[in-house]
Amino acid sequence: MAKLVYGLNQSLDGYVDHQKFKPSLPLFRHYIEYVRDLTGIVYGRGMYEVMRYWDEDQADWVAEEHDFAAAWRSKPKWVVSRTLKSVGPNATLFENDIEAAIHGLKAQHVGEIAVAGPGLAGSLTDLGLIDEYRLYLHPIVLGRGTPFFAGPRPPLHLVASDRITEDVIRLTYVPA
């Protein structure tokens, strides 16, 4: 049985807009290790389209970017979308009955499956399918944007608080 984990960088006021977060090199290295250890990643369309950047080498990449791309490409990806017609390498499209599809993924795999994208995470939260939330809090305040939590949810329970880099603290919660 795999564990479904939703974690993203966010501001202190809870917004996740990816262009506002330039991860430091130490944080980026943390994410390389994190992706390496994953069983796979479930994407919503929007976040998958952002992440497809990593499917193709870029001339200006540093070693860490190549490392991240290699880790990311090696992982199975499941993309939830009704509008996409096709997806890239090592990715599978989920078009309908998301609940059954995610239940199936969790049942067929072990380890950790990441959920990426606040919209998809919101739907899976409502279905009670997310096992763990990881808030990577950056010391910035955006005032507006896309929230990490798409809506209200029942209480959580803190299981860990870890300083990941000098300026980022990660809070880990499970449903209470």
Binding site: L12, L135, H157
Partner: protein, 193 residues
């Protein structure tokens, strides 16, 4: 030289109160009938009491002051924790920024002048930490660059909307302390970067 400190409990999505907990009027989004931010447990309440004990005083906005004035008068249903808090609260000097109030209660002074100028003077004249109470007031003082420390007490609840701790965007902060406090809170202490 004093320091202005803004600290409050909030949900994981950054709200100090759900829409259904708000008093007065509000244009912020909220979820009617949704979850609310529960009061602190006994251990977290003790933490807040200890923190208050160390304060030089509190600077209030009108609405928060009107809520807190509840503590000026003994209530028959109070327990020991309530009485302890009331004693602590009454002992602290309070300054209340308001253009509409005509008078304030015991151990409180009405601030009718420009609150930014007053807060700057208070910092110059008073030693120790002065608590800023009220998100609007904190927002005004943040915009003026007058807040020296932000204390976020994150409770494990997700409200989906309501009154935010940060009234608006602001320049980056720097994390100086993190701790698990009370039953269920994570305290994060930030200063301007």
């Amino acid at each position: 030289m004093g320091r202005l400190v803004f600290g409050m409990m909030q949900s994981l999505d950054g709200y100090i109160a759900a829409n259904s907990q708000l008093f007065g009027t509000s244009t912020s989004p909220g979820v009617p009938g949704g979850p609310v931010l529960p009061p602190p447990g006994p251990a977290l309440a003790r933490h807040f009491n200890d923190h208050m004990l160390g304060l030089a005083g509190m600077l209030y906005g009108r609405r928060m002051y009107e809520v807190m004035q509840y503590w000026d008068e003994d209530q028959p249903d109070w327990d020991e924790g309530d009485r302890d808090f009331a004693a602590l609260w009454r002992a602290k000097p309070k300054w209340v920024a308001s253009h509409s109030l005509k008078s304030v209660g015991a151990n409180a002074a009405l601030v009718m002048e420009d609150v930014g100028a007053f807060a700057a003077r208070l910092k110059a004249e008073i030693e120790g930490d002065i608590d800023v109470a009220g998100a609007e007031l904190a927002g005004s003082l943040t915009a003026l660059g007058l807040i020296d420390e932000y204390r976020l007490y994150l409770r494990p609840f997700v409200l989906g909307g309501g009154k935010p701790y940060f009234a608006a965007a602001r320049p980056p902060l720097r994390l100086v302390k993190s701790d698990v406090v009370g039953e269920d809170a994570v305290m994060l202490v930030f200063v301007p970067a």
